[in-house]
Symmetry: C2
Subunit: 222 residues, 2 copies
């Protein structure tokens, strides 16, 4: 299958793209507003995984092209650009595409990072609101640190929480996640439960900031 | 030391009281609005730990008496009674007492449990606001399920997040927590960072509700 990463030249896109390309048989399409930037990022990721090899499973494209090819479209852009990006590509999505939100909106003040919910609730729900009703949105990946994903020597042994209103899409995303080495999955129910998933991310950052032995941390539920 | 559990006849108080009494050398004072109820709970907990033994390390008292004796005062009452309870005992607190908040305010709707923050932010900060400035408040225990704590056969192997503005009190609470078998601790910084800790609790409940193999779950950070 094709995994499109909108804004995939950023650090979370890099981490997700590298892990999917390394651990699964899926193809990865890195999207960016500028195609050249996406192609450069894709070349760099290919080089990270297999220097000098001819691995064409990671390619670059405009966000629109990436969105039009993805069986999964993972929205890896910074929170402030998420809705504009999704709106720009919504008419390009294939039938049966699953849109995945790893997004979290946070603020920072003198004590640390804090979750910012909106009137709608979570970013995952906001994405769903700007998409046609028939496009399923699944929340996932929010609690994985880019630094952990991009460090390919690091054993993850972490859980990813999945939320969504369409069981079939959740199962597809769960299967995708479980193809990545070291990731387990837990179902937190409806998309409306994404807020509590997203708000775990600033806690993880605050813990990293206050514990010298914890970097780029994630969670295991038990 | 004396560990006072206000509202300690409830399930989270039972769990914390049993674990502290079993695993540490501290004395536990169960508080309740009605002294008789607290004494009955204390007798029941003593019986759980050592049937027919004469262990006087768990006793019952009014919340006021418990608060006046506690080196740690852990506020185990339901969220809607927290502020009234703390206000009722604030003049009884010893010098050097550390007040600990395991409290979380949640609502439930058709999709699951949701975190309710207040204008102040977290319940931990609300407790601090109704106490004199010199009384340190530490957030802890929020992400432990009563069902896991009261099941004394269960190996916890879980982390507890600690927040607070006074480093010495945080260290004291950390030492108390690390005396309980299977608990690790992580510092999330200032008391103002408690909101993100408290909001992890409804996520844990939503995960329990949606995964048949996960009950009374907690977290490990890694």
């Amino acid at each position: 299958m094709q995994i499109a990463l909108l804004g995939g030249s950023g650090d979370i896109g890099e981490g997700i793209g590298l892990r999917i390309a390394r651990d699964t048989s899926h193809d990865v399409v890195i999207g960016s507003r500028r195609r050249e930037k996406a192609e450069d990022a894709a070349a760099s990721y290919r080089n990270t995984l297999a220097p000098n090899a001819d691995d064409s499973r990671i390619v670059g494209a405009s966000n629109e092209t990436a969105a039009s090819e993805g069986d999964f479209v993972i929205v890896c852009v910074p929170p402030r650009y998420v809705l504009d990006t999704v709106q720009a590509v919504r008419s390009d999505l294939k039938d049966d595409t699953v849109v995945v939100s790893p997004c979290v909106r946070m603020s920072r003040n003198e004590t640390g990072f804090h979750y910012q919910s909106s009137e709608v609730g979570s970013v995952a729900e906001e994405i769903s609101d700007v998409l046609p009703d028939q496009v399923p949105v699944v929340g996932a990946f929010q609690n994985l640190a880019a630094g952990a994903l991009t460090d390919l020597d690091r054993d993850l042994d972490l859980d990813v929480v999945v939320t969504g209103d369409d069981d079939e899409s959740k199962q597809k995303v769960t299967a995708l996640l479980e193809g990545i080495e070291g990731l387990g999955t837990c179902d937190a129910g409806a998309l409306a439960n994404s807020r509590e998933v997203e708000s775990l991310t600033p806690l993880l950052i605050n813990l990293s900031m206050n514990n010298s032995d914890l970097h780029d941390l994630g969670v295991k539920f038990r």
